[in-house]
Point group: C2
Chain length 205, copies 2
């Protein structure tokens, strides 16, 4: 739909407010009333932008994925460093980003994956597609590191990307659970080690 | 509280019914009415056993942790195999257990960690303590494998246990999200590789 600048600002306000609430309380845990109250938008206006709470969730996840892609563009494009430096800069941002705080703590995959996986096939698919695109980006930066010699040849780049991402997701989950950053520091150390692994055995049949 | 056998059976029925609901819908997503209807227990009776929904959640998580510990006892005690075999038997159970289906798919840490971490400090603590005890068990089986020579010396057993567990948690999250077992098979292959890693660099300060 074509939107005026004001309409776009209102939509963005609802999504930004909603994201903060969802990050703390989950998707099911946030009521529509709460989003309306926090964003100062009347109910009728909300339905002008989103046909349902699920449609709101869809837009929220899509916005998160797009924002995340922009952050990655910025992070990977920054001057300085070879492929490995850029890759490690990304993982370090999970722990601490001067502008955003730790990405792990604000990650909607960590917060919502288990919840939406059984709740809504639409929301699940949006998030799963976002993860797939992210894995492609991580794969690309590993290939770059292989090409410039900063990451040794070894396990295929897509497998390495998936293994690292899975490890960081689990670490982020445990960081939330333990209220410490220890799991993330553990993942950081293991990442360095995994980048030196030269082969994964084939999974047993 | 002292309970008759009948009372214990009723409590167990509420917890078992509740667990199946919570596994699909999360803790916030399951209403008390739904638990009562599914277990066929009247409201007054529910409050005889649990002072609140949070108290019910506490008992649910504690029961899960205790059951999990029994499953581990069984799995690690089974005849046959060295430490490494026993450890790998545990990870394979995440993918497929003939009796229970895959543990990953029925794991309350995967399903609830992100949700309860911000919801209730009591529930968070129960789950975090359960994870800590589980990590001790995994550490123990790795030490056993080191002692019998089936797992090479290398990264400290507690660090190895944490890294593996984090990787499997993230894999289980992505398996839920993607509705495939690929992430778990990836974790299985990476586990074999990680058991051969001889050192993690210290995390950069």
């Amino acid at each position: 739909m074509m939107m005026t600048r004001k309409a776009k600002a209102t939509e963005r306000n609802i999504l930004d407010t909603g994201r903060e609430l969802v990050l703390r309380k989950g998707f099911v845990g946030v009521g529509l009333q709460e989003i309306l109250a926090a964003s100062g938008v009347p109910k009728g206006s909300f339905y002008h932008y989103f046909a349902s709470k699920e449609a709101f969730g869809h837009a929220l996840l899509q916005q998160y994925i797009d924002d995340y892609a922009s952050r990655l563009d910025h992070l990977f494009a920054e001057d300085g460093g070879n492929g490995r430096d850029r890759l490690m800069r990304y993982w370090r941002a999970w722990i601490e980003d001067p502008e955003l705080g730790g990405w792990a703590d604000r990650c909607l995959v960590v917060k919502l994956a288990a919840e939406v996986a059984d709740l809504s096939d639409d929301l699940r698919t949006v998030l799963a597609d976002g993860v797939r695109r992210l894995l492609d980006r991580i794969t690309g930066i590993i290939e770059r590191g292989r090409a410039d010699g900063s990451i040794p040849e070894g396990v295929s780049a897509p497998s390495t990307a998936r293994t690292l991402y899975q490890m960081w997701l689990g670490a982020a989950l445990l960081a939330k659970l333990s209220h410490t950053q220890d799991p993330l520091l553990q993942a950081l150390a293991a990442t360095e080690a995994l980048l030196g692994v030269t082969a994964f055995p084939s999974p047993p049949a």
